[in-house]
Symmetry: C2
Subunit: 150 residues, 2 copies
DNA sequence: CAGAATCCGTGGAGATACTG
DNA sequence: CAGTATCTCCACGGATTCTG
């Protein structure tokens, strides 16, 4: 349905990582090209869209923190060391306009603003965990490969 | 262990989305702040690291395509309409140096180069699918919220 | 065919100062 | 406390040209 959504077939032993390399590229032996991806469809692919939203510098840290409990603005500012006020505001506003975070203002003096995940935001924690698990499981391997190829 | 890896506790009904709002922010009622995140530790968090690698403009499209079968350079160039040669090369090189993609050169004339996922790259397809499923399931909701708040 | 090299525009992001 | 307003810098990424 969507470009990045069709789960690719599990590689069968002996075909994907072929050991019987005869010097001919696999793509020449098995020459069935998928039709080119129309640019318009790529732009509208929700997976790409969501991925790009979620993957800026601060979004995931904030979503993860807010997954623990609600935070006030300056609590987040202190918790996420290194983030600027500007980026904290911007990221929270984006999350809010995407419906992942809600913002509640309490009429106190000085003002108190609280941020929390919406149910939609909570639902995102699940797939993020899967990716987080993968990262934790494989980051050592990635690091070693990276070092070897420098 | 890592900042973005501890799966947050499942929200209990009536506590997370409290309906008995007495005008006092939840973070003032339940005031147990996690210790601030040291900047050094944040930088080294593998989850953040991996997310940032994976989330540039072309990586996911390429990983997904290569999940189907191996591709030659210009096959990818045609398949991913809109990508420049420069970015295709750069993205593939990064994927290679991270151990997610391997590059094989065949001594033909003109040269033939084939790209395929490594086992590590294949293992990434799984968690990506989870995120893709989430995106497909919720992108309409996000879009409607987004429109409402513009 | 599979790139390398170069130039260049744009937006993501930090730093700083100010305010209701 | 919770922001807004500016200025600035640089990395991302596109276009073009050239080559073994």
């Amino acid at each position: 349905m969507f470009i990045l959504h069709r789960r690719p077939a599990e590689p069968k032993e002996g075909t994907f990582m072929s050991t019987t390399n005869t010097g001919v590229p696999a793509s020449l032996r098995d020459h069935q090209l998928p039709s080119p991806i129309p640019i318009g469809e790529y732009e509208r692919c929700p997976v790409t869209d969501v991925l790009r939203r979620v993957s800026d510098k601060w979004t995931l840290v904030l979503v993860t923190l807010l997954g623990r409990h609600p935070y006030r603005f300056n609590e987040l500012h202190r918790a996420v060391e290194g983030i600027s006020q500007r980026m904290l505001t911007r990221t929270l506003r984006t999350l809010e306009s995407d419906g992942l975070v809600e913002r509640e203002v309490f009429p106190t003096l000085p003002p108190t603003v609280e941020y929390r995940l919406t149910p939609l935001g909570v639902s995102l924690l699940e797939p993020l965990s899967a990716l987080a698990d993968w990262a934790v499981d494989h980051h050592a391997e990635i690091a070693s490969v990276r070092q070897r190829t420098i």
